[in-house]
Amino acid sequence: MAGEGEKKAVLEMVQADGADEGCVTFVLHDEDHTLGNSLRYMIMKNADVEFCGYTITHPSESKINFRIQTRGGIPAAEPLRRGLNELSDVCQHVLNTFQVSMCDCSVHNMCLT
């Protein structure tokens, strides 16, 4: 699953032998609480997810172990993908709302206190 040759791995999947596709630990490289906690929140909001958590294995290494367990036999990559998409949409909405309120602010000129 890691990149070939010189390319550094960005995302790896670790699965216990014998377990179904629903319980997977993803290793996300070059990430920390910034993406870990916000992604965990978005994935926990999914009703199909039985367990979701992340750990920073060692503070000197910038990688997180992100574990997802689903119920109903759903492959774990699916809530991960959905969580990433939803987080991306949330950020887009926040950006649009912020830009609209900045435009309103400059039009009304009332926040230049």
Binding site: V10, T34, N37, L84, V90, H93, V94, L95, C111
Partner: protein, 351 residues
């Protein structure tokens, strides 16, 4: 004790500030935790409840409210503002001559921390690798600055003056003495925007006659995670909106003492039928010192809490980029992070 309706709402929405601790801190509204509540992620509900109100904006700092979002995402924005928005800062300092009493490494450290006014979008990251020994940096990824100054005696000073400002010329080295040296086609590309330190009055070193500094600096693009000199904010922080509820009517001298327990402007005394009655006017101004809980007769009168999804952000920029640009950049960085993993998932799925 079974949780009643009002109690459940309070547990879901408020952080309680008690006398000996803070309770209800974590987000608990995940699907399945509360019977009767549907907590699955709902885009329409989020978009309906979410709003941003800009309270204060000037060229260096802004204060805005973000309401209806969870702490995990608000914290992600704060962390990105501090550590992952790229800027330009001095990385390599070539010291040709330093006869001042400031050591080379201390001087280089100070020069690195000076904020450089240059739009980071117009530059690339420098490719680190084997070529770091040979390549001095090209025009797309490096800004070259020069500091060349020599202190001398002022011939026109009076004989018995002891003021260094009168006796010496150039004895204080300020950031305004740093000059931009365009390389390659930078002189044409950046003809209109002046590249240099943001502030002119940062004191770098002090000299005496005969001492000089001859320094060339290379600035590169980086992020705060690598070194704090790349951080574009003086600081970025948030606090939750405080909420103060008076559980009973407080009047007279007790109301006066209650008013003193909170920050100015939070509690006001109204005149009703001749007695002064306390009323919460603006709980936003409170610093939540919980002073009122130290008084045994006042602590049961008041309930202190914070609204869990109302964040009051304060962003102070160092001057490189305006604070509203910084916030938009931070949001875009989080989108890019998500996109990176989505692309990775897609590419491994196709294998």
């Amino acid at each position: 004790m079974a949780a009643r309706m009002e109690n459940v709402e309070e547990i879901r929405n408020r952080v309680i500030l008690g006398e000996f601790g803070v309770t209800n801190v974590h987000t608990t509204d995940f699907p399945g935790n509360y019977p009767g509540y549907d907590d699955t992620w709902n885009v329409e509900k989020f978009q309906k409840n979410f709003r941003i109100d800009v309270v204060h904006l000037d060229e260096n700092s802004m204060e805005f409210d973000m309401v209806g979002i969870d702490a995990a995402i608000a914290n992600a924005f704060r962390r990105i503002l501090l550590a992952e928005v790229p800027t330009m800062a001095t990385e390599k300092v070539f010291i040709y001559s330093n006869t001042s009493i400031v050591q080379d490494e201390v001087l280089a450290h100070r020069l690195g921390l000076i904020p450089i006014k240059a739009d980071p979008h117009l530059f690339e990251y420098r490719n680190t690798g084997e070529e770091s020994a040979e390549e001095e940096g090209s025009e797309i990824d490096t800004i070259q600055l020069q500091l060349k100054i020599k202190c001398s005696r002022n011939p026109r000073a009076s004989k018995d003056s002891s003021d260094p400002r009168e006796l010496y010329l150039n004895h204080m080295v300020y950031s305004k003495d740093i000059k931009w040296v365009p390389i390659g086609n930078q002189a044409d590309v950046f003809a209109d925007c002046c590249i240099g330190p943001v502030h002119d009055d940062i004191l770098i070193a002090q000299l005496r006659p005969g001492q000089e500094l001859d320094i060339v600096m290379h600035c590169v693009k980086g992020i705060g995670k690598d070194h704090a000199k790349f951080s574009p904010v003086a600081t970025a922080s948030y606090r939750l909106l405080p909420e103060i509820t008076l559980l009973e009517v407080v009047e007279g001298e007790k109301a006066e003492r209650l008013k003193q327990c909170f920050s100015r402007g939070v509690i006001d005394l109204e005149d009703i039928n001749g007695t002064k009655v306390a009323k919460v006017v603006n709980s936003r101004l409170d610093t939540c010192s919980r002073e009122v809980l130290r008084h045994s007769d006042l602590k049961n009168v008041v309930k202190l809490g914070r609204v869990r999804d109302h964040f009051i952000f304060t962003v102070e920029s160092t001057g490189i980029l305006p604070p509203d640009v910084l916030v938009t950049e931070a949001i875009k960085v989080l989108v890019a992070k998500c996109q990176r993993f989505l692309n990775e998932l897609d590419s491994t799925a196709m294998e």
